[in-house]
């Protein structure tokens, strides 16, 4: 079975500085695939600069990898012919962070819904198109009569973001890449938007890549999780064990940093580590790691497969077998 979309040892780096001599790795090469036969919700979690948006942009074909390949149904995304590109554009949909910038303020919000209907000839008649749009809006909990005909500034951020979810639904894609879809909306609305994404997955079998810095919503929404730290995969696996018993010291730090609504004040402070010299070849987390060993300063750990559905890039787990070909997709399989 060919994967819908596949990262094959794909990575991205940017050059900058005088004469392009400075090279900045945005995402270390790794592999994983999204299998349309087994749809799931995968969360990609990491801090700013960890490479999560680079991963999204690679999957959406917005940037090309420097190494490896991004494949859509077995063919490189940037070499697709017109028909393949059309199929790709329809099958893979994006929802972005900012529900303000994606709208043209001079057009009514209907524009973002009617354009895909027209471009992809989704409806045989105007009435059918209208019916489809209304059904999509209702599916995300919006009243079509309160939305259609309005301008973006007349709607709230939460409504605007749900329209983007409705637009994605309209195209019946196989995959939605949602890059921080709720970081700019209020906590009380987050639940509604993430709930509508979850519903799309359950009712229409759409795979979702939920990119976020918020581990708590990732835990509530996703089935599998991928933790990125400084451009590389730190830990990956089923969401329950990763959150409950994190193995990578960075995942442990991340989970310990979330302030909990509790009368128990256990918001411990990160222990400052003694100054260490970490070479360029060393583990990127070694300078902050409470468990760092001598070899961590000079070598980068590969991904170790610590359980059938779990991989960790840390020498603490070196008794486990290394993950074949660094293929993270092997541990991100739904049951």
């Amino acid at each position: 079975m060919t994967a819908l979309i596949e990262l094959r040892a794909a990575g991205k780096s940017f050059t900058g500085g005088t004469l392009g001599r400075e090279r900045k790795v945005a995402l270390e090469p790794f592999s994983f695939a999204i299998d349309p036969a087994r749809p799931g919700i995968t969360a990609v979690v990491g801090e700013s600069g960890s490479g999560k948006t680079t991963l999204a942009r690679l999957l959406l074909g917005l940037i090309r990898p420097n190494v490896g390949e991004v494949l859509f149904k077995g063919r490189a995304v940037h070499r697709l012919n017109a028909a393949g590109r059309r199929d790709f554009r329809r099958s893979v949909q994006a929802i972005f962070q900012d529900p303000y910038e994606v709208y043209n303020p001079f057009y009514r919000v209907d524009h973002v819904l009617t354009t895909p209907v027209r471009k992809f000839a989704l409806a045989g008649s105007a009435a059918e198109g209208r019916a489809r749009i209304e059904a999509a809006l209702e599916a995300v909990g919006l009243q079509p009569s309160e939305i259609l005909g309005r301008y973006p500034h007349q709607l709230s951020g939460g409504q605007r973001q749900r329209i983007m979810v409705a637009r994605a639904l309209l195209l019946r894609p196989k995959l939605i890449v949602a890059d921080e879809p709720v970081s700019m909306v209020d906590a009380s609305l987050r639940a509604t938007i993430l709930g509508s994404l979850r519903k799309l997955h359950e009712e229409h079998g759409i795979s979702i890549l939920y990119i976020t810095h918020d581990l708590a919503t990732a835990y509530q929404v996703a089935d599998r999780i991928l933790v990125l730290y400084r451009a590389a995969v730190a830990e990956a696996g089923d969401v329950e064990p990763v959150v409950k018993t994190p193995q990578h010291p960075y995942t442990q730090l991340l989970i310990g940093s979330i302030p909990k609504v509790s009368t128990v004040r256990d918001w411990a402070v990160e222990q400052k580590q003694a100054d260490r010299t970490v070479t360029a070849a060393g583990c990127t987390f070694a300078d902050r790691c409470p468990s760092a060993m001598a070899r961590c300063l000079t070598a980068t750990p590969p991904l170790y497969q610590t359980a059938p559905n779990r991989a960790v890039a840390c020498f603490l787990y070196e008794t486990a077998p290394t993950l074949a070909q660094g293929d993270v997709g092997r541990v991100l399989v739904s049951v």
Partner: protein
Amino acid sequence: MTTNDTVLRVEGLRVAYDHPRGVVRAVDDVSFSLRPRERFGLAGESGSGKSTMALAILRMIKPPGRIEGGEVWLEDVALSRLTPEAMRQLRLAGIAMVPQGSMNSLNPVVRLRDQIGDALADHGERLPRRALTDRVRLLLSQVGLPAEVADKYPHELSGGMKQRACIAIAICLRPKVIIADEPTSALDVVVQRQVMETLGRVQAELGAAIILVGHDMGLMAQFVDRLGIMYAGRLVEVAPIADIIAAPRHPYTRLLIESLPSLEHREGLRGIAGLAPLLRELPPGCAFHPRCPLVGARCRVDKPAVRAVAPEATVACHLA
């Protein structure tokens, strides 16, 4: 008026915006007081009036907004009676603000040492170069930044470092009250924890009180001593943090706590049904009644008054 155990007292504060369709009240009759060294939280959704409240305390409301009534006391000084120049001197020296977007609050073309120097000079502390260097180094070390940062421009610093730099500026004149308006909303959780730890430590060293404005109930639970909940411009509940987390009295407070995703159980996400009301068309009675799961007949017609329900605790709800 003001007793020794109160550093800041807000009494019946009201902020209004004139709108073609009538007056919009962004802060409606809010009263509370802060003890010295106390950490007070102000939480609510966007548009609940919490940031407006922070600006009103500093008398920084700009037209078309205006302070319609009420008073703010800093110890025994009534701020409404100060001249604009005296008020300007009191900002930073008496009440300092740590702004929300540290990236937009620092001057991008001025080195950090000069930004701190400007703040000091403007408040009458013109220091010779040597003394300024020492002062800046001390301030930076208080917020955990290396001395080299003094010679850097804001774009050379990370988000967490910029927010610490803003804290260094806020404490440079040893204010009695620090208002921190969502100081970590743009930061990652790991950095957020470091910045909040820094803020808490300098606040304790200074003996200042702090008002933390935000919407993250987890952050409030871990940081503040007492929490106030704002809804549609009103302070609908105030209570010591342990009480409010364990047994919230206002239904809105309970929903706000429950809407935070848990890391313990995957019971799904819960939001608060409906939308925050538009301030210019507030529903009659209790402003929360259209979204309240416990709404009764009285709530639809009768606006609940703020009542004291326990020592240090007030609530504005007919059912509590």
